[in-house]
Symmetry: C2
Subunit: 439 residues, 2 copies
C-alpha cells in the first residue's frame, strides 16, 4: 500500500470509526459468540498473495464485530471505564506515523521532553506536591507507563533496590539473598495503598499510613488507577491528601481522563530511585548528552526498552478539552452515578453496598448471594446492558460503573428499568421455587 | 470534538501522516535541538479553556517536528528497524476505536481469539515446531507482549515459579527463600539465548545449548527480537534450528515485520507454565466460560492486566502484504546490507567487523577506536544520515542497519559516499595531528 492508497483507505477508516462510534448504541453491548467462534471463520494460514483492503474491512464486520464487547457503548457499565476520545485517537494516528522508539533522549528528543512537560502539566492539574514535578531542576518527575501493574512493579523493584543498597552499605557482610529473605512488603487485601479500589472504589487513609511509612523508612507507593482522574476537580482533591508522604504515585489517564490506552501516569519524588534500579547503558544506546544531567533517558524509568510517543495524546486531550472540559466530564459521570444510586435507594427490594464517592455504584437485591447471582446472570444473558460483580465481605454484589464517554441520564434510567424488570423475574422465580419446596 | 468534527480532522490527519511519510526524505534525519528545547516553547500549565485543532496541528510542526529523530527516514541506519506500514496504521485506528481491554475472553472474545489464531499463523510462517502452536487442542500457544523485555521477564518468572514448585514438591521442608537463593540463570554477555544480537547480529548455537538445557531440566528461553522476522524466508530458517529444545521463544514483528510497535510475539510449549505463574482471578474478572478449558484469558500470560486489540495489525499486515510480500521485504533489506558490505570491502581503508547475515553491517576504519569515534562524531554531527556504534571485543565499531521501509539502493550508495567523505576528513585531520606531533 502506497501513500496515495493510504490517503484513500485512511479516510475510509476515519469514516468507519466515526460510524462505529456514532452507531454503537445500536449494537448489542455483549456478543453472542461461543468460545472458539473465530477460528473456523478464517483460514488456517496466512495468505501467500496480498489481499485487498475491501476484503479485510468486509471481514471486520463479518468476523470481528460479532465477537466484540463494546466497551464504549452507553450500555456498558462493567469493570471501570477505559478512555476513548477523538483527540486521543487523532494523536495516536500521529504517534503511529512518527513511529519513534523513545528509549533515550537522543532517540527522539521531542518524545522525551513532551512527556516530561505533560507529566508536569498533569501533576499540577492534580495539585501534586512540588517534589513530584520535574520542573527545570527538580529531583522528581513523571513517566508514562503502559499500565498500573507496570507502575506498581517498577515502584516495588525500585524500593527493593533502594533498601537492599542501604542495608548493604550499613552491613557489608550481608549477602543480597540474605537481605531479600528478610524484606517485607505490606499490602491491604487490595494491594499497595490504593485510592479507589476496583471492587467498590474504597480509599486507604494516607494520612494514617503515610506518617508511619515516613518514620519507618518504608517506601510508600500509592495507586489511584481509576480514582486519580477525579483529583483534577477541587471538590475531590481531598481524597489525595497524604500523597505528600508517598515515594511514588500513579493513576491511569487511560481509564477516566479521555486519553486512550496505554497511558498510566507515574510520579516519583526521587528519579534516582528509578534510574538506580533500572540503569542500562550499552554502547549502542549512548549519546553525547546523556551524562550532562540535563536530559532524561526514560528507558531507566521502566521495564521495557521500547516506548511509543504516548505524551502526544495527553497533549491533544488536555488542549482540546481544557482543564474545565475534563472537570466537567468527571463531574457528569459522578452525577450519573449518584442518579443511579438515588434510583436504587427508591426501590426497597435493593440496597446500596458501599459509599458512592465517584462513578461506581455497588448494589444488590436484599437477599442471598444466590439470588444476586441469578440477577446478574439474567442481566448479562439478556445483553441489553453489561455489568460485572464483586465480592464485598463475602457478599455477592453488582457493580454499576459509569463508563462510556457518551452515556447520558436516559441510558442510566433505561438500564435501571431493565434491572428492575430482571429483578422482578428472578424474585418471581424464587417465589415459585419456595412455593414448590413448601408444597 | 464530536463525530462530525472527527470525520473532518481525521481526514486532515490522514493527509498529514501521508505527507509526513512521503516527504520524510526531505527532513533532516536527526534534530538540531539541545536538551531542554521544548519546555520554553509551551505553557507551564494545561489550558483552562479548550483550544482548537488548528492550534495544535500548527504546534506539531513548530514544536514537535524540530525535535523528532526521524526513524522512518531512508537515511536512518541506527539501532534496528522499527516497523511502520500503512496497513498496520489503519489497523491501529480501528484498534483505538474499538478500544477494548482484552484481559479476559469475555472482555472481548474477538480480541483474544484473533490473537491466538494470528500467533498460529505467524508460528506457521516461521515453521515453529507444532508444540508451540495453540491449534484447537494444543498445550502451547502464542501471546503478543508489548516488548521483548517483557517477554523475557515473563519467561524468567515462569521458569522460576516452575522450578520452585518442582523443588518444593520434592523437598517440602525447603522455604521459598532458600530455593530462590540457589537458583541460577545462565546467560551469555548478550542475555538469554539470542538469535541476532543487537551489537552485531550474532547467533547463539541452539543445537549445542538446547540439548544440554533439555537434559538438565533448565528452562530455555530464546530471544530473536530483531532476526526472528527473517525466519519467514526458507533460506534463513536454518538460523532458528534448535528452537525445538526451547520452552519459550519470542521475536518482535514490530521491528522488521511491518507491524507497528507494540507487537512482541511470544510462544510457549506449555501454556500452563505461564498461567501457573501469573494467574489472577478476582470476582469482577470472572466469567461463565473461564473454567471450560476452551478459552484463553490472556491476563494470565503477561505482567499487565490491560491489553489493546493488537492482533488487528498483524491480521491487516499479513493479509495486505501476503507471506510473499513480507518475504520480499526481508530479502530486499538483506540485499541492501550486502550491497553496503560490498561497498565497504572495496575501500581498503575500512574493514568489516562481523559476518553480515541479515540487515546489519558492522564496520570501521582500520585504525584506533579514537579514529572511529571521530568518524562517527563527524557523521552524526553532519546529520545527513544517522548511525550508532557498538563495542565488539573492545573495538569501537560503527553499525549500519537497514531500517526504513522505503530505503533503496540509491540511499545506501549516497550514505556510503557521505561516510567516505567524512572518513577522508577525519583521516586528513589525523594526518595533520601526526604531522604536528612530528614537528
Amino acid at each position: 500500500m502506497n501513500a496515495s492508497e493510504f490517503r484513500r483507505r485512511g479516510k475510509e477508516m476515519v469514516d468507519y470509526v466515526a460510524n462505529y462510534l456514532e452507531g454503537i448504541e445500536g449494537r448489542q453491548v455483549f456478543p453472542d459468540v461461543d468460545p472458539g467462534y473465530l477460528r473456523p471463520l478464517i483460514p488456517t494460514t496466512a495468505p501467500q498473495e496480498p489481499e485487498t483492503f475491501e476484503d479485510i474491512i468486509e471481514d471486520v464486520e463479518k468476523i470481528i464485530m460479532p465477537g466484540v464487547t463494546h466497551w464504549h457503548s452507553p450500555y456498558f457499565f462493567a469493570y471501570f471505564p477505559t478512555a476513548s476520545s477523538y483527540p486521543a485517537m487523532l494523536a495516536d494516528m500521529l504517534c503511529g506515523a512518527i513511529g519513534c522508539i523513545g528509549f533515550s533522549w537522543a532517540a527522539s528528543p521531542a518524545c522525551t521532553e513532551l512527556e516530561t512537560v505533560m507529566m508536569d502539566w498533569l501533576g499540577k492539574m492534580l495539585q501534586l506536591p512540588e517534589a513530584f514535578l520535574a520542573g527545570e531542576a527538580g529531583e522528581g518527575g513523571g513517566v508514562i507507563q503502559g499500565t498500573a501493574s507496570e507502575a506498581t512493579l517498577v515502584a516495588l523493584l525500585a524500593a527493593r533496590t533502594k533498601v537492599t543498597r542501604c542495608l548493604q552499605a550499613a552491613s557489608p557482610e550481608l549477602t543480597q539473598a540474605a537481605i531479600m529473605e528478610k524484606l517485607v512488603a505490606y499490602t491491604s487485601d487490595q494491594v499497595v495503598a490504593t485510592l479507589g479500589t476496583t471492587s467498590c472504589c474504597s480509599f486507604d487513609n494516607l494520612l494514617e499510613v503515610g506518617p508511619i511509612c515516613h518514620e519507618e523508612g518504608v517506601w510508600l507507593h500509592v495507586d489511584a488507577a481509576y480514582a486519580g482522574s477525579a483529583f483534577i476537580c477541587p471538590e475531590f482533591r481531598h481524597l489525595l491528601n497524604g500523597v505528600e508522604f508517598a515515594d511514588s504515585f500513579n493513576f491511569n489517564p487511560h481509564k477516566w481522563l479521555l486519553v486512550n490506552f496505554d497511558c498510566s501516569a507515574m510520579w516519583v519524588k526521587k528519579r534516582t530511585d528509578l534510574t538506580g534500579a533500572f540503569r542500562l547503558d550499552p554502547v549502542y544506546l549512548r549519546h553525547s548528552h546523556q551524562d550532562s544531567g540535563l536530559i532524561t533517558d526514560y528507558r531507566h524509568w521502566q521495564l521495557p526498552l521500547g516506548r511509543r510517543f504516548r505524551s502526544l495524546k495527553m497533549w491533544f486531550v488536555f488542549r482540546m478539552y481544557g482543564v474545565k472540559g475534563l472537570q466537567a466530564y468527571i463531574r457528569k459521570h459522578v452525577q450519573l452515578a449518584h442518579a443511579f444510586e438515588a434510583l436504587v435507594r427508591q426501590d426497597p427490594r435493593f440496597e446500596i453496598c458501599a459509599e458512592v464517592t465517584l462513578g461506581l455504584v455497588c448494589f444488590r437485591l436484599k437477599g442471598s448471594n444466590k439470588l444476586n447471582e441469578a440477577l446478574l446472570e439474567s442481566i448479562n444473558s439478556a445483553k441489553k446492558i453489561h455489568l460485572v460483580p464483586c465480592s464485598l465481605r463475602d457478599r455477592f454484589v453488582l457493580r454499576f460503573a459509569i463508563c462510556s464517554r457518551t452515556v447520558e441520564l436516559a441510558h442510566v434510567q433505561r438500564a435501571w428499568e431493565h434491572i428492575q424488570e430482571m429483578a422482578a423475574m428472578v424474585l418471581a422465580a424464587q417465589g415459585e421455587d419456595k412455593a414448590e419446596i413448601k408444597n
